[in-house]
C-alpha cells in the first residue's frame, strides 16, 4: 500500500467519524466543532487528489464561511449558547434505512476496477480558462441562484413593519 493510499484511508476514516459525531453529539456547539474538522479533512483530501485550488476554496468557503454562518445561526436563535437539546432519540427505521443505503452503495460501488490518476497538467490558469470559457454558463446560472437567494433572504430576515 502506497503512502498516498495510506493517507487517504486515514483521512477517510476521520471524515466518516467527524461526520457521524457532528450529528450525534448532544451539544450543538460541539457539532459545529466536528463539522469544522470534517470540512478541513475534506480539504486535505482535495490536496491529496492534486486539486489545490479546490482545497483552498474548501477551506475558505466551508471551513471558514459556512462554519461561521452555522455558528451565527446557533448564536442568534438561542439564549444560552450551550444547551443540550441537539440530539433526540433515534428510531430503528432511519438507522436501518441508512445502513441499507450504505451497504447497497458500497456493495455496488466498492468493487469497481480502475483508479484515478491525478491530472498531469494542473494549473489554476487552465482551470479558470475552462471555468470562464466553455463552462461560463454554469457561472451565469450560479449568479442567478445567488441573486434569488440574496433578494429573498434579505427580505425574509429584515426587520420591518407589516
Amino acid at each position: 500500500m502506497s503512502l498516498t493510499e495510506l493517507a487517504f484511508f486515514a483521512l477517510a476514516i476521520v471524515a466518516i467519524a467527524t461526520g457521524l459525531l457532528a450529528l450525534l453529539v448532544r451539544e450543538l456547539v460541539h457539532t459545529i466543532l466536528w463539522i469544522g474538522i470534517f470540512f478541513v479533512d475534506l480539504a486535505a483530501i482535495y490536496f491529496l487528489l492534486e486539486a489545490p485550488f479546490l482545497g483552498v476554496l474548501q477551506l475558505g468557503v466551508y471551513a471558514g464561511a459556512v462554519t461561521i454562518l452555522l455558528l451565527f445561526g446557533i448564536m442568534v436563535t438561542r439564549k444560552r449558547i450551550f444547551s443540550r437539546d441537539a440530539a433526540t432519540g433515534v428510531g430503528a427505521l432511519p438507522i436501518a434505512l441508512a445502513v441499507v443505503t450504505f451497504i447497497f452503495l458500497i456493495g455496488a460501488l466498492g468493487q469497481l476496477p480502475g483508479s484515478a490518476v491525478p491530472a498531469a497538467s494542473y494549473s489554476v490558469a487552465s482551470l479558470s480558462t475552462l471555468l470562464f470559457n466553455t463552462e461560463a454558463p454554469y457561472l451565469l446560472l450560479l449568479g442567478l441562484v445567488m441573486l434569488a437567494a440574496l433578494a429573498g433572504a434579505i427580505y425574509l430576515v429584515r426587520e420591518g413593519r407589516e
Partner: protein, 527 residues
C-alpha cells in the same frame, strides 16, 4: 463590430429570458426606492411574461408572430454531434415547455394583482416569480446535466423563499422550511447521481453521454437511479410525495398555484431530457448499452421503474384525494395523481406518447393554476377552506362557481374539455405501443374514472347544497374590490383559464399540431 455581432448572435435567442431578468431587477429596484404598488409590480410581471410568450410563439413559428423569431431557423432542433456537446440547445419541445411555463407565470402574476396594494412583500413576490420563471425557461433549453441541475436550483431557491414571503404567517414559513429540507435533499441526490454519471462517462453532456458505449455499469445504473429519486421529489411521484401536500396547503394561495401549476413541470421536462434518450436508444438497438456485453440494457430497466412509479403515483394520489375534507389538500393530491398520468408518456416514449404527455402537462398547467387561483379568490372572500364551507358557492358567486366547475371537469377528463383531449391522446398512444404499456393505459383510465367522484362532489356541493344557515357571514380580506369582490386581475386570470379549457377542448388542433411536431423532432434529435 464583429465582437458586437457575435454578442448579439449569442444573446439574441435569450431575449425572453433577459426580459424576465430585467423585469425582476426593476421590481427589486422599485422596492428599494420605496415605490410599492401592487398594480405597478404586477403590471411589470404581466407585461414581461406576455412579451416573452409572444417571442416564444414566434420562435415556434406560430402564424401571426413568426416574423419576430429570434432563434435562427437552423438552430432549433439542430442535429448535435456528441463531440460538439453544447451546454444548451434549442429543441422545439423545450420551446413548447417554455410556453407552458410562461403561461403559468402569466396567470399567477395576473391573478396576484388583486392583493392588497402597498403590501410589503409585493416586490419580492413578483421579483421571485420572474426569477423562478427565468430558471424554468433555462430548464427548457438545457442539454447538460449540470446545467439542468443548476437551472432547477434557480427555480428551487426562488420558490423556497416565495413560500415564506408572508413572513409573519407561521404556517407558510413552516411550509417553506419543509419545502427547503426536501428540496435540498433532492438536490443532494441529483448532484450525487450526476457525479456518478460524470465518473462513468467523463462528461455531463446528455448528447455525449448518449453517444457513448463505454462506461462502468454500476456507476451508470446508480447514477440514473439517484437522478430518478432526486427528480421524483420535484415531480411528487408517490414514495417521494409526502411533502407536497403540506407545502401546497401551507403556502400562500397564489404561490401554491405557481408551485402546483408551474414549477412542478420542470421536473417532468427533466425526466424527458434525461430518461427518454436511453429508452429510445435501447429500442433502436443503438450502441448506448453502458452495461456492456450481454447485460440488461438500461433503457428497458428505466421503463419498468417508471411504469411502476406511474401506476403507484396515480393510484395512491387518487385514493388519498378521495378522503380529503379540505379543498386545497384535495387539489394537491389530485395534482400528485396527475403526475402519474404524465409519467405514462415518458415510460412509453414514442412520439405520440410524448405528444400526449406534453398535452397532458399543458392541460394540467392551466387547470391547476386556475383551480388554485379560484381557491385564492374564495379565501380572499372570507369563505373557509373546507369543502363543506363551499356549499352554495356556485349560486352566490356564479362566476367563480362556473369557472371552477369547468376546471374540475377538465381535471376529470370530461369530453369537450382540454383534459379529455390530452388523456385521449396519451392513453391512445400507450395502447398503440402494445406490450405491458396497455396495462398502463388501463390503469390510467380506471384512475380517471375514480377521480370523477371527488371532482364531481365539489361541483355538487357548490351548486346543489344549500349553505349552512348557522355559519357566520364571510368577511372579505379586502372589501370593495371590483368584480364580485375578486378584483379585475384575478377575475381575468380565472376567466382566461375557463375559456382556454373549453376552447382547446373543442378545437385542440392548434396545440395538438404544435405538440405533435415538437414530439416528432424530439424523438429524432433530442438528447
Amino acid at each position: 463590430m464583429s465582437d458586437l455581432g457575435a454578442f448579439t448572435a449569442f444573446v439574441g435567442p435569450f431575449l425572453p429570458e433577459l426580459l424576465l431578468l430585467a423585469g425582476a431587477l426593476v421590481v427589486f429596484l422599485l422596492d428599494v426606492l420605496e415605490v410599492r404598488r401592487v398594480e405597478l409590480n404586477g403590471g411589470i410581471a404581466v407585461a414581461v411574461t406576455a412579451v416573452g410568450l409572444l417571442l416564444v410563439l414566434a420562435d415556434l413559428g406560430v402564424a401571426p408572430w413568426a416574423g419576430l423569431a429570434l432563434i435562427p431557423a437552423g438552430q432549433i432542433d439542430a442535429v448535435v454531434t456528441p463531440s460538439s456537446a453544447p451546454l444548451y440547445a434549442f429543441t422545439s419541445l423545450g420551446l413548447v415547455f417554455q410556453l407552458f411555463f410562461l403561461i403559468s407565470a402569466l396567470l399567477v402574476s395576473l391573478g396576484s394583482m388583486s392583493r392588497p396594494s402597498k403590501e410589503r412583500g409585493g416586490a419580492v413576490f413578483f421579483g421571485l416569480v420572474l426569477l423562478a420563471t427565468l430558471g424554468m425557461m433555462l430548464v427548457g433549453v438545457a442539454s447538460d446535466l449540470l446545467f439542468l441541475v443548476l437551472a432547477i436550483e434557480v427555480v428551487s431557491i426562488s420558490t423556497y423563499l416565495l413560500v415564506a414571503y408572508t413572513r409573519r404567517d407561521s404556517r407558510s414559513v413552516e411550509a417553506a422550511m419543509k419545502f427547503y429540507i426536501i428540496g435540498a435533499l433532492s438536490t443532494v441526490l441529483s448532484l450525487f447521481g450526476v457525479a456518478l454519471l460524470f465518473g462513468a462517462f467523463g462528461t455531463t453532456n446528455l448528447y455525449a453521454i448518449e453517444g457513448s458505449a463505454v462506461g462502468a455499469p454500476t456507476l451508470v445504473l446508480l447514477g440514473y437511479g439517484l437522478l430518478v429519486a432526486g427528480l421524483a421529489f420535484k415531480v411528487t411521484l408517490v414514495p417521494f410525495h409526502a411533502w407536497a401536500v403540506d407545502v401546497y396547503d401551507g403556502a400562500p394561495h397564489d404561490v401554491s398555484a405557481f408551485l402546483a401549476g408551474g414549477t412542478k413541470k420542470i421536473g417532468l421536462f427533466a425526466f424527458f431530457l434525461v430518461f427518454i434518450g436511453p429508452i429510445l436508444l435501447a429500442r433502436w438497438g443503438a450502441s448506448f448499452n453502458p452495461l456492456g456485453g450481454p447485460g440488461v440494457p438500461i433503457g428497458p430497466l428505466l421503463q419498468v421503474l417508471l411504469a411502476v412509479l406511474a401506476v403507484v403515483t396515480m393510484t395512491v394520489g387518487n385514493l388519498l384525494a378521495l378522503q380529503q375534507k379540505e379543498i386545497k389538500r384535495m387539489l394537491a393530491y389530485s395534482s400528485i395523481s396527475q403526475a402519474g398520468y404524465m409519467l405514462i408518456g415518458i415510460t412509453v416514449a414514442t412520439a405520440p406518447a410524448i405528444a400526449g404527455a406534453t398535452l397532458q402537462i399543458f392541460a394540467h398547467v392551466i387547470l391547476t393554476t386556475g383551480a388554485f387561483l379560484v381557491v385564492a379568490a374564495v379565501a380572499a372572500l372570507g369563505i373557509g377552506a373546507r369543502i363543506d364551507d363551499w356549499r352554495g358557492l356556485g349560486v352566490r358567486r356564479p362566476y367563480l362557481g362556473v369557472a371552477f366547475s369547468f376546471m374540475l371537469l377538465g381535471l376529470a377528463g370530461i369530453p369537450l374539455t382540454v383534459g379529455f383531449v390530452s388523456k385521449f391522446v396519451l392513453f391512445g398512444s400507450a395502447i398503440q405501443a402494445e406490450g405491458y404499456f396497455v396495462w398502463l393505459a388501463i390503469a390510467g383510465v380506471l384512475n380517471s374514472a375514480a377521480s370523477v367522484f371527488y371532482y364531481a362532489r365539489v361541483i355538487k356541493v357548490m351548486f346543489l347544497d344549500t349553505p349552512d344557515p348557522t355559519a357566520p357571514a364571510p368577511r372579505p380580506e379586502a372589501p370593495g374590490l371590483a368584480f364580485q369582490g375578486m378584483g379585475y386581475g384575478r377575475a381575468a386570470a380565472i376567466g382566461l383559464v375557463a375559456v382556454l379549457v373549453v376552447f382547446f377542448g373543442i378545437d385542440p388542433q392548434p396545440m395538438l399540431g404544435l405538440v405533435q411536431s415538437a414530439a416528432q423532432h424530439f424523438v429524432l434529435v433530442g438528447p
